[in-house]
Amino acid sequence: MKGVVLVLPPFAYYQPETLAEAVNLLAELPEPKKVLAGGTDILPAMRKGELTAEHLVSLQRLTELSQIELRDGNVRIGALVTFRELATSPLIQKACNLLAEAAASVGGPQVRNQGTIGGNIVNASPAGDLLPPLFALEAQVRVCRRGGERILPLSEFLLGMGKTMILPEEILTGVIFSALPEQAAGSFVKLARRNSLAISRISMAAVITRTPDGDIEDARLVLGAVGPRPVRAPAAEALLRGKYPDPVLLEQVVASIAETVAAILGDRPSAPYKRVAVKGVARQVLLKVVPEFGQ
């Protein structure tokens, strides 16, 4: 059967107590080595032989990576914060509700209890549900190794399907982004084959900032699961800027997003479906963010 061996291969397991200990360990261990957070993606991948690690470094004891903080207008989320914690955190719900909405849409309750934001980023799945909202929030990631830390935009860190800029001796320790200002609103919508335990077919995150008169000052529209990594829809964003939202504008923007998506999808087998379905997703998310689009 396709050479699939569904047994976890042997490895050495480490459970450092501090971040310093963890990065030291990673600096010294030979490859192949992997960092273990929630494990919901890594374990099945290791059983199927899609991922090999002779040394597995668990982050479980690093409670310092489990914090959610709002400091100087910046939201800081530790890598070990789970989907459930994101979905239910009053701080996240207030400062960047779209991230809470995306977290609540992941897998089922069991996976949300276990999977982490750090894992979702490093796994770099094209359908990773936290990635579009983090793109829309223009998040940066913090990556640590022995003797150093780098902070870089998530949009640069994510390279494509399963690929990021992380080095084998590095640990992604968290993300940081500006909390949404008062006059901004955001939302996330996901289309999948069923409501739960489902991988996104298409997702979209939107952050829209309004002027005191209600005009749209700025828009960040990000699509998920239509390419190897999330993509912005700059043409649609430009259409929105400086306009007052109404149903006519909504349909123009939806059409523009559909064009952007069609261009990305090319002639992939899912293209005929996604080209049409993305319109529904876009309409839904824009109406959630700005109810005036429907009036």
Partner: protein, 601 residues
């Protein structure tokens, strides 16, 4: 590999073990601690059957590396009942009929417990969210939701729990006494195996462990159509822990199975034909499942690939590669009543359409599994099955034994839906136990279950219907082509039933129906809920809607005008003498639809 310490509190008891780090929490619970109430359904966190509570929160134990659960508080289904008293959730599941096959039940109970511990009065939405990570293939979820509501109400009422205590007492019994007789007619007696299923005590086949037990795994073909030339197991046999590798040459009796046609080999013979991806080629028997799996990768197979056919429509053409013999048409059913062609030629309205339906996997939560053991020259097989008597006959034939020397015990079966009517592990387990003289267990991984198990037949249906100006059916002409895949399984019967039901619940004076059961190199199709009828119902009901649309009449009216009634003659000429309920059913559906404002009028 260096072991690590696993020290945790499981069901309020301390546990302290040394384990290899590459174990899942699920494996440690089931294998090291014997807590087999926690089930494996998919191994990927998609089904929730392996749910346990970790510090009070549900997680999939197949996705938790065991060392990560060290130092934590773990609750499994075995920890729900306290001092022999069922938890109110367990009682409610029994009373509400939320337990059927029982395989999803432990996981469902645990997510429900986690919910009620935090939110004692959840609304329906909260309940549905709580169970949204758990699949159930039997109940349709409604009874599970009802059971959780019931338990919540009881727990909130405090004393209200008394309402259920009497019933719970009844359910704690070992089952109904035979003498209960007619006293249960008209009542809802508790399931005989209900208590075992809500407490995690029910032993499904994969939960069984016998002393000295070996583990078997099947090497399967990767090519869809080929002649098997060579199997070289020499390297696999050198692996420590491998006991034997069996091939077709080791089968003492008939190397064939099949409920209707004996066309499927137990193991493909050298020089014999591989007819689908997943055909069994060799059986590895080893001291552990890990070793058996590792040995599979060491077996070398040489085959000579043949052109394959993957569509039933292509398979009926003369040039198509032949899967068996010199025709891919396994069986044909023809039903003729009156003169359909003549009626079609004269009819006012004629609608013709092609309908295609897809292959469907049953996806029972419990994969195929069994244990076989020999004692006093008697072979016993405990197996997840829907067909123990057939299993016994086939195992006896394959091993060349009298049926009196084979005993098949149906283990609690975690869903079947028709998919466990065929042979899966039975004959191979019998062979392994008979040859080695030791107990042998085999349980399919989900991937293997999907590759190896029979499916619902995909159909291509050409359907022509004719009616008069008032929508009265005059004739139907139907051609059904069913793809039975590599082996017949229940195909001939499924296609026959589809033909017999092709007119639906309608009286049609002129009928011409032909159905073909066709071999291809696709996965085998067999029995699945409805047995050919759901596919054809999709076609005849779509046709009724199209006729109604063409005539501009109401879809209920056209159905009522044509439906079978007492005295009607069916397509096969049967006169229906009593108990024809379709008109009443349609009327009730219309009433309900109106009540729910689903109709415009």
């Amino acid at each position: 590999m260096k072991t690590v310490r696993f020290k945790a509190t499981i069901n309020n008891r301390p546990v302290d073990l040394l384990i290899a780090p590459n174990r899942r929490l699920l494996d440690v619970l089931r294998e090291d601690l014997g807590l087999t109430g926690t089930k494996e359904g998919c191994g990927e966190g998609e089904c929730g059957a392996c749910t346990v509570l970790l510090d009070g929160r549900p997680v999939n134990s197949c996705l938790v590396l065991a060392p990560e659960a060290s130092g934590r508080r773990i609750t499994t289904v075995e920890g729900l009942a306290e001092e022999g008293r069922l938890h109110p959730l367990q009682e409610a599941f029994l009373e509400a009929g939320a337990v059927q096959c029982g395989y999803c039940t432990p996981g469902m109970l645990l997510v429900a417990k986690a919910l009620l511990d935090k939110h004692p009065q959840p609304d329906e939405r909260a309940i549905k969210t709580a169970i949204s990570g758990n699949l159930c293939r039997c109940t349709g979820y409604a009874k599970i939701v009802a059971a959780i509501r019931l338990a919540a109400a009881r727990l909130a009422g405090g004393k209200g729990a008394q309402a259920g205590s009497g019933c719970a007492k009844e359910q704690k019994g070992p089952g109904l006494p035979v003498s209960a007789g007619l006293r249960v007619v008209g009542k809802s007696p508790p399931r005989v195996d209900g208590v075992a299923k809500v407490t995690g005590c029910a032993r499904f086949a994969a939960d069984l462990k016998l002393p000295g037990m070996l583990y078997a795994r099947v090497l399967r073909s990767r090519t869809p159509h080929a002649v098997l030339r060579r199997i070289d197991a020499a390297e696999a046999l050198t692996l420590p822990g491998v006991v034997a590798v069996y091939t077709a040459a080791d089968i003492p009796g008939q190397n064939s199975t099949g409920i209707i046609v004996k066309d499927e080999p137990v193991l493909v013979a050298i020089g014999g034909r591989i007819r689908r991806v997943g055909d069994p080629l060799a059986l590895v028997v080893a001291e552990s499942e890990e070793v058996a799996e590792a040995a599979l990768a060491k077996i070398k197979v040489e085959d000579e690939e043949l052109p394959a056919v993957f569509s039933a429509l292509a398979a009926i053409s003369a040039e198509a590669p032949k899967v068996h013999g010199n025709s891919n048409v396994q069986s044909v059913t023809r039903i003729k009543k009156g003169d359909a062609e003549a009626a079609l030629a004269k009819a006012q309205v004629v609608v013709s359409r092609r309908y295609t339906t897809q292959m469907t996997e049953h996806a029972y939560l419990e994969t195929e599994a069994g244990v076989a053991a020999v004692e006093n020259d008697l072979l016993t097989i405990w197996v997840s099955t829907q067909n123990p008597h057939y299993d016994r006959r086939e195992v006896a034939r394959v091993l060349g034994l009298g049926q009196h020397r084979v005993r098949v015990v149906q283990a609690p079966t975690g869903g079947g839906f028709g998919g466990k009517l065929d042979i899966s592990v039975q004959c191979l387990l019998g062979l392994a136990a008979w040859k080695t003289g030791r107990p042998v267990k085999m349980s399919y991984r989900r991937e293997e279950s999907i590759i190896a198990s029979p499916k619902r037949h995909p159909f291509v249906i050409d359907y022509t219907s004719a009616c008069d100006g008032e929508g009265r059916l005059l004739a139907v002409k139907v051609r059904i082509i069913g793809d039975t895949g590599a082996y017949a399984s229940y195909g001939p019967a499924t296609l026959k039933r589809a033909a017999v039901h092709a007119t639906g619940p309608y009286e049609v004076p002129n009928v011409l129906i032909e159905s073909f059961c066709v071999y291809t190199n696709n996965p085998t199709a067999g029995a699945m809920r409805g047995f050919g009828v759901p596919q054809i119902a999709f076609a005849h009901e779509s046709q009724m809607d199209l006729l109604a649309q063409t005539l501009g009449i109401d879809p209920f009216t056209i159905r009522l005008r044509n439906c079978l009634k007492t005295g009607s003659l069916t397509a096969t000429g049967q006169c229906l003498e009593a108990g024809v309920g379709i008109a009443e059913t349609i009327r009730r559906v219309r009433e309900k639809a109106r009540e729910l404002k689903m109709l415009e009028k």
